[in-house]
Every structure is written in C-alpha cells, then in structure tokens.
C-alpha cells in the first residue's frame, strides 16, 4: 500500500543523507587507507585516496546521478550525531527491464556488527522497490565476504550465479557470487 508517511531515509539508528563535500572527503579518505574495507566493498584493486581525490569522486558521482539518471548514491549517517559511517547505492539501472545493482558498506570496523548494515539495507530495498519501482535487484559479493553473504541471505536474497575463480586476492582465487531479490518477494516478506 502507498505509505508516504513512513520516511524513506530514516531508520532506527541510522539515516540516509546527501554527500557533504566539506566534511566527508577526509572521513572517506581514511576508509580507503583500510584495505580490508576496500576489499569488502569494491571489486577494483584496493587503492588509498587523498581527501582531494575523494572530493573529485563525489563530484563525478553527482554528475553521473544528474546526467545518466541510473545511479542513486546515499551516505549512511549515525542518527545520534549525523556522522558519516557508510554508503549505499543503487546503480547500473536498466529502466526498461526494471533491474539494478545494489551495494553498501560500513566504512570503519568499529561501526560494523551493530545492525547498521541491516537497517541501511532495509532502507535501500524500500527505495529500490517502493520509489524506483524496480522489478529486481542484484548484489554481487565475493565469496570471502562472509558478513555480506549473511546479510543478503537474511534478507531473503537467492544465490543466483557463481562465477568460478572470478576474483584473485591474496594469491587465492575466489568465486564471485551474485544474489538476487525480486520486488514481489520483498513485498511478501514485508507483508508477513
């Protein structure tokens, strides 16, 4: 049912917020110096970034959001003090097919394992399904990211694809898993 009163961007302990070009680059720069975070969040080679580089990335993100209209980027803030703790995106949207990819991450280790990821994912799914009206979303997860695997399984995602040895890190080959959730499945879960 149509529920405009329930806020899209507020959860119990976290909220979604816009990019803050003044204060966020420095925080995110620290995250990029933590190879563990980068390897959980991104498939590209881990690489540290200066705040100036992060600022450039932010500008490129907002430019892409504005021009291509198939990327939706949110910062995750702690509700108590609005500090930046992570990010969540819906990207690579194919509007005619109604599908897109989702990705989220909590930047520093001390903020993980507190349920923030679940709250953020919950908001992200409501946005993808209730505001963008996507038919389905996909999340790509390296086999070594146990936290993410657990999170997506908890939310009822189905493992759809296993690309064998598609990732090579630490001298080991890892499968790349692709999880999918349909709008109808999400709706059924929330009705129950």
């Amino acid at each position: 049912m149509l529920d405009i009163q329930t806020q899209l961007f507020e959860a119990q302990d976290v909220r979604f917020g816009p990019i803050d070009h003044e204060t966020h680059p420095e925080i995110e720069s620290k995250w990029t110096h933590d190879a563990e975070f980068m390897r959980l969040f991104d498939l590209k080679p881990a690489r540290p970034l200066s705040p100036a580089m992060v600022k450039k990335q932010y500008e490129a993100i907002e430019k892409e959001m504005d021009e291509d209209k198939n990327l939706f980027y949110f910062t995750i803030r702690a509700r108590e003090d609005d500090r930046l703790i992570g990010k969540a995106v819906v990207e690579w949207i194919s509007w005619t097919n109604g599908n897109g990819y989702i990705r989220l991450g909590i930047g520093s280790a001390e903020n993980r394992r507190k349920g923030y990821g679940s709250q953020a994912l919950s908001m992200l799914l409501r946005y993808a399904f209730g505001e963008l009206n996507l038919y389905r979303v996909t999340a790509v997860v390296p086999a070594y990211n146990e936290g993410a695997l657990r999170l997506f399984q908890k939310f009822g995602f189905m493992e759809e694809i296993r690309r064998r040895k598609a990732l090579n890190r630490d001298g080991e080959f890892w499968d790349l898993l692709s999880f999918g959730l349909l709008n109808s499945e999400w709706r059924d879960q929330n009705r129950a």
Binding site: D3, I4, L8, F9, G17, I19, D20
Partner: protein
Amino acid sequence: MKDLYRGTLVRLSDESPEVLAKAFAKWNQDSEQHRLADDDPAQLWSEKKLKEFIEKRAENNSKSFRFSIRTLEDDKLIGGVGLWVASWTHSEAWMGISIGDHDYWGRGYGTEAVRLILQYGFLELNLRRISLGLHAYNERALKSYEKTGFKMEGRMRGEGWRDGVHYDSLWMGILREEWLEPQGTQP
C-alpha cells in the same frame, strides 16, 4: 498599488542560492514532503549540487517566476511557490507550490501563498488561465486549491507509481474571469 508580495501570514521573497540550497537540503531529507510535492524519485543531493541547480536554473528564467515563502511573524523560510509560463501567446501558466517545513502544513500558510501567486499571475503577468497538477493522494493540497478557486478538470489514471501502488494524478485550472469574480471569502 496593491502590495503584490505581502499577505497576512506570509510574504513572497527571493533568496540567495546558498540560503535556498541549505533549505532544500533540509527539506529533501523529509521523504513524505518530497513524495507529496514531486514526481521524481526522492533524492538526497548535497548542498553543493543543489546550489549548482539553483544557479543554473536562474540563468534561463524568462518564463519562470519563482518565489520563496517566508512567514510574516518571524521571517522563517518555509517553502516555495512559482509560475511557469507554458506559452505567452496563449497566456497560460503552470503553478507549483511546496511547503518544505512540516510544521507549517494545514495552517493556512500554503493557501495564502497560492492566493498571492494567483494575484501575481493575473494582475502582474496578465495571464488568462493558470493550471496545476497534483497527486490524487495529496488531500491537503486538493482542499487548498479548491478553496482558492481552482476547478477540477481531469484525472490521469495510474500516472504515478510508488510503494507498488499506481496512483492517479489530478489536473485543475482557474480562468481569469473566475478569479476576478468576488470569491465570497477573504481576498
């Protein structure tokens, strides 16, 4: 001469891009407000990007007449209202209004802002008719528009889609001669 910009609760004003960007950033965060006012997916643009949008749109505004809304009591910036001329030759414009600050809903502020913009449109721009569209689920706005003299002209079925529900959009209009007639209630 009538003070075109002043009512009894609010006044129409213009604001700097910085001030507006800050206000928009705050109001954007309220997704209920966005989903009442807007068709686009609710989005959280940074203040920097919002400022860019505001500056860009100011460059090409020969047919847009945008105002901010401030309370008379304490000069608080609570929203925006505007007219977009669809065609000078047809002398017709679209109206849009949004009260960003939740605290000022349902208290007559929006209705007065609509009255002021209609006055501006008919007395200053000499328009022949003003149109608007709204989501069928926006009951508060519908009451406000009926009160200010708009007549229901149509309904587009299932034009919008949110939370898995297809909702209708409603279309209303007011003609110059209707507005010029005394309305029976306050001006």
